[in-house]
């Protein structure tokens, strides 16, 4: 039967492909640029660094992208990470629980916070931007109460291994976790019925409801999934830093959001792919790393990153509106 499809579809959609690949071309151009500007950029050591530094961002962005594809937003993921990190650390260091148990406790806390967001969004029926602005503040308070405003130092070696260790002859554990997260998310979004429903709700919630999709259940699930991936991200981040403080994590939400939008995950929902998201994070990562090597300071980097986001969004809108006018 696939034969019939091939005959029914005209040749490949080159313009569409070029548009979708544009983001990839930007990444390649940046890599080429920085390779030319700095002899240290295009080395195995440095590129591995880029991946290791950004693996937690990618995992958190994977969580956020579920919410965004379903048409929602989650501002609270930064403080969710903060809470998951300190809960895990408190379990290990103050309660003396074994590392695996602490990890499970951390992940369950993350999923729980996601479910709170999900339930709040279906009961309060205001935009999730507002809801998560509220829960973000709640999680912030919770995190500082749990950590007693102190930094918990000297986390166990076996925990730090997740963020700093290598397996299979030199592959960073955090990168492995990142690849698994992206693969699992791709599978959920592209192959499962739930994935279809997530796109459907983000694309047209009313039509999704009338098409028999259990909208409220899927929405709660989406926030639960977000919480899950965000807690993995938190564990990677805290394990890399080796200590736990409530100030670790916040800020990630904006990086993740920026990367998602760069990677073609629309604010309106209903569209977006994992490879685009990964490309988006890597663009930000390469920009940061490259500019550092070239000698630009952090603040200059902010300006460039902001401008790149605006350019990407502007390009996208321009593409869409010119397509609309043509018809």
């Amino acid at each position: 039967m696939s034969h019939a499809v091939e005959t029914a579809t005209p040749g490949p959609d080159w313009t569409g492909l070029a548009k979708r690949a544009a983001i990839l071309l930007v990444l390649l151009a940046l890599i080429a640029l920085f390779s030319g500007l700095s002899p240290f950029f295009f080395t195995v050591q440095n590129l591995t660094n880029v991946f290791v530094q950004n693996s937690y961002v990618i995992i958190a962005a994977v969580g956020l992208s579920f919410v965004m594809i379903a048409g929602g937003m989650d501002l609270s993921i930064g403080y969710q990470m903060s809470v998951v990190g300190v809960v895990t650390a408190v379990c290990m260091m103050w309660l003396g629980l074994p590392v695996p148990v602490s990890l499970v406790a951390g992940v369950l806390t993350g999923v729980g916070m996601g479910l709170i967001n999900g339930l709040a969004s279906i009961t309060l029926r205001v935009h999730t931007l507002i809801i998560t602005l509220g829960t973000m503040t709640v999680f912030q308070g919770a995190s500082y109460i749990i950590s007693r405003q102190s930094a918990i130092l000297n986390l166990p070696l076996s925990f730090k291994f997740i963020g700093q260790g290598y397996i299979l002859g030199g592959i960073p554990v955090s990168v492995v976790l990142m690849v698994i997260s992206v693969a699992v998310a791709s599978y959920i979004l592209n192959v499962t019925a739930v994935g279809r429903m997530i796109y459907a709700i983000g694309g047209n919630e009313e039509a999704a409801y009338l098409s028999g999709i259990p909208v409220t259940r899927v929405k709660v699930l989406v926030y639960g999934l977000c919480g899950f991936f965000v807690s993995i991200a938190a564990i990677v981040l805290f394990a890399r830093s080796g200590s736990a403080a409530s100030s670790t994590g916040p800020g990630t939400e904006f990086t993740a959001m920026t990367a998602a939008v760069l990677g073609g995950i629309s604010f309106k929902g209903g569209e977006g792919k994992m490879w685009g998201l990964v490309t988006g994070v890597l663009i930000l990562g390469v920009l940061g790393n490259g500019m550092q090597l070239v000698g630009l300071n952090t603040y200059a980097q902010y300006i460039v990153k902001g401008l790149v986001l605006l350019a990407a969004v502007g390009f996208d809108t321009y593409q869409k509106s010119s397509r609309g006018r043509g018809r």
Partner: protein
Amino acid sequence: MSGRDESEHPVLLALEHIGKTYPGVVALDDVSVDFRRGEVHALLGENGAGKSTLIKTISGAIRPDGGRILIDGRSLDHLTPPAARRLGIEVIYQEFNLVPTLTVAENVCLGEYDGWRADFAAYRRKCAALMADLEVDIAPDTLVRDLPSAGQQLVEIAKALAKSPRLLIMDEPTAPLSLSEVETLFRIVRKIRDQGTSVVYISHRLDEIFDLSDRVTVLRDGRYIATRRTADTDRDELIALMVGRTLLETYPPKAHAPGEVALELKALAGNGNEAMSFALRQGEIVGVAGLIGAGRTELAKLIVGAASRDGGVMELHGRPVRFHSPRDAIAAGVGLIPENRKEEGCFLGQSIRWNVSIAALRRVLGRFGIRSNIEVDLAERYFRMLRIKAPGIETAVVTLSGGNQQKVVIAKTLASEARVLIFDEPTRGIDVGARGEIYKLMVDLAAQGIAILMITSDMEELLGMSDRILVLHEGRMTGLLPRADCSQEKIMALASGLTGN
């Protein structure tokens, strides 16, 4: 209005040989019309006949490719919306152009800034005077968002009249109005006409055109067909001019008898509707008639469980069912093809394949998720069965015409294995050719034993397609008649609540 003789009235605005072509579509082809002072001139035509393009030409929103526009005999080139405004041309569009968070007075005087200061007291005075003049009871300080849609429509009209237009264009102004509100509107229109304003009136409702207009111009497929004095024409002639063929050809014949009862409502009430009882048989098409606000869409949503019921029972194939959401309804084989295709029916950004399978995911699921070969087969089957015109099943729905988008929504519902279908305005916004195909499809489905409830505001469609006709009035059932017993007048009387049943 048939007694008026407006032929003496001078021509205000004339269009001569106007043409407008969009890529792939001729929107207007050599159209010449004139509008006189003090007349109500109706524009009539199917969707896509070119009425909107014509209005936009007059209001300066689009520039025609050819032809001339004359006002008071002077030719205008480069007509822009501000220039049209200065010449006294006002348009009341189908969609509201009000700011909901501002007051009625502020909306009515929107855009009238004299100097840097907004003179709210003057706005209020002007608005109050205007409302009194229209004999409408709307307080100037009311927020527009607090008004019902009929009130908002009146504010739109007041806003247009505040500019003292010489030519007022009204695009389907009665769509959000109830019968008594329509009377108010007509009174206002007649009043401004008698004051010498030229009114261009667009409506699909023929009875309104006969009630109100002095002349009527028919467009079809972007071409000028004819202008008639309303007093000298009749409904059949206008329909023939509009459709370009006689009515009977449009509707496919039905050659089967209805079977067993599929869906039965027993005193079902809810979603603003009082208790209703009727039975829908397999292979039967029951038309649902009623004016705006009669509760037709509400009934549809109530049946599929998108609204909660207040009382009563529903039986499907003889067994009582209770749908808590459309999900339950679909699982039981009851599907809704909603009124607003783009907002409620399909997923515009996704492909035809994706849309067809979204309500039928359980049919394409394997152990590890969606089996793409099964999904492709399913989509191909309905793609061919409904003769969707597109390059293939991977085509994005947003690129399809209205008729083909509607077919995608129907395919989606059929793929979910529905045996009872509720069509809400199945041909709204669909051109004549595609309409015929949708009709044929509905009759074919009925022949396969599918029970169809068809909500429609189109009287010809109602009479042409239905086996029986259910009439609603303000949330009540006022009649359920076999088609043979139906006349347009009888349905209108029942829909207006003039006779009980």
